[in-house]
């Protein structure tokens, strides 16, 4: 079976995708406290103390002309000079962001400059439109994740666009879930999350259900037979590839394990209704391509692929 085409697509994780898609203006704080360059330094005491902030943009007629920090203010205090204007102490070497810069640029800049806050200006008019802190970035990302989750629940048709975009861009999305072994209480969590995600991406319901079967059976095998493992799904333009790996005991004879009815599940597990020996055959039957390899003492790895344009009868 040939089911991967190396190099023909990029892999992006969801949060990575978000920092490229979201703009500074989506997360920045818009209410900015500013000072004028012709204000006396002594007047900053109240502003800084009252707002508990470490720096202020200096603005003249909407344009950003400098930045005055708490350090600048303390420096001025320490020198015990007589009062002077903000413009004489402010720093004019400005690190700024544009409001339409992608978030990934802002994160890089916050990191590189070590600045706590960066003023945001409009690219055309150069007017100050906001301020950006690391906190804003984190809050913005969290809010977006939350909104995405809501949309997943409420607006499938909207999220359904994503799959079309993946298909148009020849990109791929990658999801991964850790499955702890022997944990029957949480068993199935990874597969339910995967199922919800695929549904929200707009994958056809019958295909989602076939992937759910395969993923659940593989997850249960991780829970029952191994100390744990990983389930991953790669959504490619034409197919979804499910991969399940573990570092468990491995399977002595894979052909035998693939036989319907073959099971080494212990008695107490059978009492829970597992151990019919149908899991691996189910995975094979529900997928359009199936590979399994195992090394006794090392672990097991299986790969099942699902063609997105395939029509098949669920009943067979």
């Amino acid at each position: 079976m040939k089911d991967s085409q190396p190099g023909s697509h990029r892999e992006i994780k969801k949060t990575q995708m978000m920092v490229y898609e979201m703009k500074v203006q989506d997360v920045m704080t818009r209410e900015v406290i500013t000072v004028r360059p012709d204000q006396p330094m002594s007047s900053l005491r109240e502003v800084l103390r009252h707002n508990r902030i470490s720096g202020l943009p200096v603005v003249l007629e909407n344009r950003l002309v400098g930045l005055i920090s708490l350090d600048d203010f303390i420096g001025w205090l320490a020198e015990q000079q007589k009062d002077c204007l903000v413009t004489e102490r402010m720093s004019q070497k400005l690190e700024i962001m544009y409001d339409d810069d992608p978030l990934v640029v802002a994160i890089g800049k916050l990191d590189r400059t070590g600045m706590g806050r960066l003023p945001v200006v409009d690219r055309q008019s150069k007017a100050l439109v906001g301020i950006l802190t690391k906190g804003d970035v984190i809050r913005g990302l969290l809010r977006k994740l939350e909104i995405d989750y809501e949309e997943e629940r409420l607006r499938h048709h909207y999220a359904g666009q994503i799959l079309k975009e993946i298909q148009a861009d020849q990109t791929a999305l990658f999801f991964q879930y850790n499955v702890p072994g022997q944990d029957f209480k949480r068993a199935g969590t990874g597969s339910s999350r995967l199922k919800r995600t695929l549904k929200s991406l707009g994958v056809r319901p019958d295909i989602v259900r076939r992937i759910a079967i395969a993923s659940y059976e593989a997850e249960m095998n991780l829970v029952v037979f191994t100390p744990g493992g990983k389930i991953s799904a790669r959504v490619q333009p034409d197919r979804i590839v499910l991969e399940v790996k573990d570092g468990g005991p491995g399977i002595e004879n894979v052909d035998e394990a693939m036989q319907p009815g073959y099971s080494t599940a212990p008695e107490w597990v059978r009492e829970l209704g597992f151990g019919a020996g149908m899991g691996l055959p189910n995975i094979k039957k529900s997928s359009d391509g199936f590979e399994i390899s195992s090394q006794p003492g090392k672990g097991t790895r299986l790969k099942a692929s699902f063609l997105l344009r395939e029509q098949r009868d669920e009943a067979e």
Binding site: A187, G188, S192, M220, G273, F274, A276, M278, A315
Partner: protein, 123 residues
């Protein structure tokens, strides 16, 4: 036929997800082996089982089942109820054994998954 009609006609008691009974039931599947249900139950089926532990909920979620009926007077474990509420999977209980319950469901016009492939109009 709605799940709420079945609850009423067969005198079932609802143990979880009371608010989710307004769904259409497409048929019935009865089994106590989870991977058998994974293989053969259909979307919208009601599932008859004597397994009362929480893993049945994951199976119902994965297969988009309409609900679970615990047979023979079995009661769901506390974790099962909790998970069922969280996932919105109705858990119903009946004192009847699987066969008697199946017969009554059939009398209500519900079919299984096997017959349904050949003749339609049963559900």
């Amino acid at each position: 036929m709605k799940l709420s009609d079945i609850v009423e006609k067969l005198d079932l008691e609802v143990r979880a997800a009371k608010g989710r009974l307004d769904t259409d039931v497409t048929g019935v599947y009865a089994s106590d082996l989870l991977s058998d249900v994974m293989a053969h139950a259909r979307e919208g089926n009601v599932w008859l089982t004597l397994q009362s532990h929480q893993n049945v909920i994951a199976v119902a979620v994965m297969k988009d089942l309409a609900g679970i009926i615990l047979v023979g007077g079995r009661e769901p474990l506390a974790e099962t109820v909790q998970k069922a509420e969280a996932e919105g999977i109705p858990v119903l209980v009946s004192s009847l054994p699987t066969y008697e319950l199946s017969v009554r469901l059939h009398q209500q016009g519900l079919g299984g998954t096997f017959d349904n492939d050949k003749k339609s109009g049963t559900g």
